[in-house]
Symmetry: C2
Subunit: 223 residues, 2 copies
DNA sequence: GAGTGGTCTAGACCACGAG
DNA sequence: TCGTGGTCTAGACCACTCA
C-alpha cells in the first residue's frame, strides 16, 4: 500500500530521470503541485522532502524548488580525489592555533600554531565538496605543503553522518543527505603528525576506494 | 530562531543523554508528549522523527517510541571487523546463480553457480549489522572459504547511502539513518575474483579505517 | 507588494499490537 | 476492544526573494 507522498515522489523522480523535468528547472509552486496531485500542501511538501533527501531537488526559500544538476561522482583513492577538468578548486589559507579536536588529531599541545587550508570544490557555479587540511605551521613553506614527501604512514578513518548546518549551507545540500566524512592523518617516520585532512563528501557525489595488496591482510573475518 | 520541533528534540535528546530516559524505555505516547510540550501532534511527531534519524529512538507501530540501546561502534579495518565478544553472528548459506549486479562484480558469466553467505550480527537481541558474501561455487569447500589464502588484491569501495527498505527492517533502523556501504572484491594472482563482500553498516555504529604505508601514495591532492 | 517556501495547528481516519 | 503510531487534510501565519 503505497503512501501518497511516495507515489508523488516516484512520479516526480520519473519526470526528472526521463528529462521531462530538466536540470536547473524550477518545479511548479507547491500549491500548484498540490492542486495537480489533489493533495494537501503538507503532503505535497512531504513528497518533495523525499526527493530533497535523495539530492534530486533543491529547495530555495522564496524562490522555488529546483531540479539539481547531477554532479560528478568523484572517487577518493588513497589520499587523492580523481582529478577532473570540470572541477574548480578554491583554497583559503588561515592561520590559527590548535584547539578542541585538533589537539588529539594532530598530537600537538594546545595553542600550537597551525595553518588551515580550506578547499572548496565547485563544478561550474555549484559547490561540490569541501576539505579542511591542517598542518603544523613550523613544518615549512605553506605553499605546496600537502605535496611534501616524508610521509611514512597515513590513516584514513571513514564514517557516514549528516552534515553540520554550516556544511549543509556551504554545500547547498539538504541536512538529511548523508556525507562521507574522511579523516586522514599522515605521519612521518618519527611518528609526528605532518598533516590532518578532514574531507566532507556528499554521498550523492563521492565514494572512496582502497586497494590492498599482499595476501597477509586479505583474509576476511566479517564477524 | 529555533523551531519548536528542534527545541523539543533537543530537550528529549538531553533527557536521553543524561539518563533521565533510559535505554529500552518507552517514551510517553505522542498525544501525551504533545500535550506536555503544548504543541500539535504533527509537530511533536516531527521532533521525534529528528531523533529517529539520529538513531536515538525507535518507533514501533502500535506499541510506542523507545529509547534505543546504544550499540557498539565497530571499526572495519583492512577487510575485517574488530571482533567483539558481545556480538553474535549468524550465518546463512544459500546456493544461487549469478544475476544482475553480481555478474560484473564477480566477473563471471550469467547463471554461474555461487554460494552466498549471509552474515547477520546481533548485539544481544538487537540486530547490529549485516554482510553478504558471494563466492563462485567451484572454488572449493564452502565452509571457511572466506579465510582462504591466495588473495592477491582486495578493492574496498565505500559509499554512504540510505538503507533499502529490506535492510532497514532487518536492521530495525530508520530509513533516514544512513549506512556505510562497503563492497570488497578480492582477486587472486590470475585476476580472478575469489570473493565479493557487501557490507551494510549503519552509520551510528560503524566506521572504516585504512592504513597506508610507503611515501609514494601518501602525497595528497585534494582537488 | 506579490509570490514563494517554512512552520504550525486541530483535527480526521486508518493500521498495528496486545489483552 | 482499546491504545498506539501512520497518514492526511485544510487551512493559518511567518520569512524570504524579487520586482
Amino acid at each position: 500500500m503505497p503512501s501518497l507522498r511516495h507515489t508523488i515522489a516516484d512520479d516526480l523522480r520519473g519526470q526528472i530521470f526521463t528529462g521531462r523535468l530538466k536540470a536547473g528547472e524550477r518545479l511548479p509552486s507547491e500549491p500548484r503541485l498540490a492542486a495537480d496531485y489533489k493533495v494537501s500542501t503538507p503532503t505535497l511538501r512531504n513528497a518533495l522532502s523525499l526527493l530533497q533527501a535523495e539530492g534530486l531537488i533543491e529547495k530555495i526559500h522564496g524562490k522555488g524548488n529546483f531540479v539539481r544538476h547531477p554532479l560528478r561522482r568523484l572517487t577518493y583513492t588513497g589520499g587523492r580525489l580523481t582529478p577532473d577538468a570540470d572541477l574548480h578548486v578554491t583554497i583559503r589559507t588561515t592561520h590559527l592555533r590548535a584547539r578542541g579536536d585538533l589537539i588529539p588529531l594532530l598530537k600537538v599541545p594546545s595553542r600550537t600554531p597551525l595553518t588551515e587550508f580550506l578547499y572548496l570544490t565547485h563544478q561550474g557555479q555549484r559547490p561540490h565538496s569541501l576539505a579542511r587540511i591542517y598542518v603544523p605551521r613550523d613544518l615549512g613553506s605553506a605553499q605546496l605543503l600537502w605535496r611534501r614527501s616524508g610521509v611514512e604512514e597515513s590513516r584514513d578513518k571513514i564514517s557516514a553522518r549528516r552534515p553540520t548546518p554550516e556544511e549543509a549551507s556551504t554545500l547547498r545540500i539538504s541536512s538529511t543527505l548523508a556525507v562521507l566524512s574522511i579523516t586522514r592523518v599522515s605521519t612521518d617516520t618519527t611518528g609526528r603528525v605532518v598533516e590532518a585532512a578532514l574531507l566532507v563528501l556528499p554521498s550523492d557525489r563521492a565514494e572512496a576506494l582502497f586497494v590492498t595488496h599482499n595476501t597477509a591482510n586479505a583474509r576476511g573475518q566479517y564477524g
